[in-house]
């Protein structure tokens, strides 16, 4: 079987506009959560909070002629893909263009554009609809623009599985490389979900925390939305070695499952199955793993269910794992969650630093693992899992190993 390595990473989120800034913030345990500023204050209630991107100027990264075609969703993906591709040193002249795939995870596309245009249509009774609405809103736009900007002509598409979208994208990209369909893939996720409509819709489900995100903690009250993108360059070990590229980690295995249960409530069996399959696919034993970047949304149901699933899979090794949720730093970026969390996992493998779980108030009897509260921990990380468990009962876990 072809081994797959990661040779480039790019990202943008509330913690920064590139992966060095993002990883530094994660290692320092800084939070990007604050009062919402994207949306006019008069529409907000309950001291709305989110992990929003600040001071972002798309013209610093994207050709001026392209910007009018882009929802923020695609802008973020282009920023992250540009960084990842630069870092990898890959170029797509000649045959490589057709031997490279692009797979981008997206939870919900074009939210800002759609809300803006529908507001004009319904509320302001506008007589004309903006002609670029469709190309900004369509879910495949981020993948298409990456292909256009970088001249990549291989299989290119978006996958969508709510909060597991990014991890499903990594899995799909890995499968195409393993199958010999391509030799490299640009994979990750993007989400631009901090709009009034999306915020209200989440609030209505009663899963949003009014104070902050406190995964696995006593008195946790729910999740906080985030936004951004993480994009990575995956290629065969052979190709990376032949180029003399810097290898960040091996993408060793993937595991996927569906709960076939409740549309919202998580399932211990579904989560455990995905983790077990990822270990199996990677040829890892539970004791090989040192770190799990948890889904850890901060809701009562997710965090206790995920804890039980980890016990179920790791048995007596479970208490020796460092299990952290980085969502209190970058927020829950839905379709981009697994991609932003990949930045944390790659940092942990490379630098031997496990980013902490912030905002921890004390133990909940239903959450009894080592969550590395408050401060990062220096420790050797040989291998790690990154968990994503979506509404709709769709689970995707990625297993990574130190190069």
């Amino acid at each position: 079987m072809r081994r797959i390595v990661i040779t480039g990473m790019g990202g943008i989120c509330a913690l920064g506009h590139n992966t060095s800034d993002i990883w530094q913030a994660m290692a320092e345990g800084r939070s990007g959560i604050g009062p919402v500023h994207h949306i006019e204050a008069k529409y907000l209630r309950n001291n709305a909070i989110a992990a929003e991107i600040s001071d972002f100027d798309p013209l610093k990264y994207i050709d001026e002629a392209r910007v009018p075609f882009l929802d923020p969703l695609s802008q973020y993906a282009l920023v992250a893909a540009g960084e990842a591709i630069r870092q990898s040193g890959l170029d797509f002249r000649g045959e490589r263009a057709a031997r490279t795939a692009i797979v981008v995870g997206v939870g919900s596309a074009g939210e800002e554009t759609r809300e803006g245009l529908y507001r004009q249509l319904y509320a302001e009774q506008a007589s004309r609809f903006h002609p670029l609405g469709i190309v900004r809103i369509m879910s495949n736009a981020p993948a298409s623009h990456i292909s256009m900007v970088h001249g990549i002509t291989g299989p290119t598409f978006v996958v969508s599985s709510a909060c597991a979208s990014s991890n499903h994208a990594f899995a799909q990209a890995a499968m195409m490389i393993r199958a010999g369909l391509v030799d490299a893939a640009i994979a990750g996720g993007t989400e631009a979900c901090i709009t009034l409509g999306v915020l209200r819709a989440w609030e209505a489900m009663r899963v949003m925390a009014p104070d902050t995100c406190r995964p696995f903690s006593a008195k946790r009250r729910g999740m906080v939305l985030g936004e951004g993108s993480g994009i990575f360059v995956l290629e065969t070990l052979e190709s990376a070695q032949a180029r003399g590229a810097t290898i960040l980690a091996e993408l060793a295995g993937v595991g996927m499952s569906a709960d076939a249960g409740d549309i919202a409530a998580p399932s211990e069996v579904g989560a455990a199955t995905a983790m077990r399959l990822a270990l199996q696919d990677a040829g890892m034993q539970p004791a090989d793993v040192d770190y799990i970047n948890a889904h850890g949304t901060g809701t009562a149901a997710n965090d206790s269910t995920e804890t039980r699933a980890i016990h179920n899979v790791f048995g007596e090794h479970a208490p020796r794992l460092a299990v952290t949720s980085t969502k209190p730093m970058h927020g829950h970026a839905l379709g981009a969650a697994g991609a932003l969390e990949m930045i944390a996992v790659l940092g942990a493998l490379r630098d031997g630093i496990v980013p902490p779980t912030l905002n921890y108030l004390g133990p909940d009897p239903a959450c009894d693992l080592d969550y590395v509260p408050h401060e990062a921990r220096a420790m050797n990380v040989r291998a790690a899992l990154s968990n994503s468990f979506a509404f709709g009962g769709l689970n995707a876990v990625v297993a990574l190993r130190k190069p």
Partner: protein
């Protein structure tokens, strides 16, 4: 199916307020006597159980209303009485129907303040 129909009625305008199938207009003035009856009716409709099976000390969980169904019951109650029930007022784990009715009455009283 019923839930889907209800969702559609919310998206397409005025239907939402009467989504519980109850008269929402004229509770004012005698709500203290009617709140309990109306909350019972909303729960019985959502849980598809006989109204006689609902006790003040039952939790929504006891009645088989869990996860999003419970969130939907709260939404129906909010729509019916035109109030907002903050998360702190709604305890899906151990809150009883009695607590829920008290919360509704508190919100109605605040509204008239």
């Amino acid at each position: 199916m019923a839930a889907l129909k209800k969702l559609r009625s919310c998206f397409y305008g005025q239907g939402a307020r009467s989504s519980s199938g109850l008269q929402s207009g004229d509770y004012w003035g005698h709500f203290m006597s009617n709140v309990q009856q109306e909350v019972f009716e909303i729960i019985s409709k959502q849980a598809k159980i006989d109204i006689g099976a609902i006790k003040l000390e039952s939790t929504l969980k006891d009645l088989g209303v869990a996860s999003l169904d419970a969130i939907e019951v709260i939404f129906d109650i909010e729509e019916h009485f035109n109030i907002n029930l903050p998360n702190e007022e709604v305890d899906f784990e151990s809150g009883t129907v009695g607590h829920l009715i008290e919360a509704v009455e508190r919100q109605l009283a605040q509204k008239t303040g």
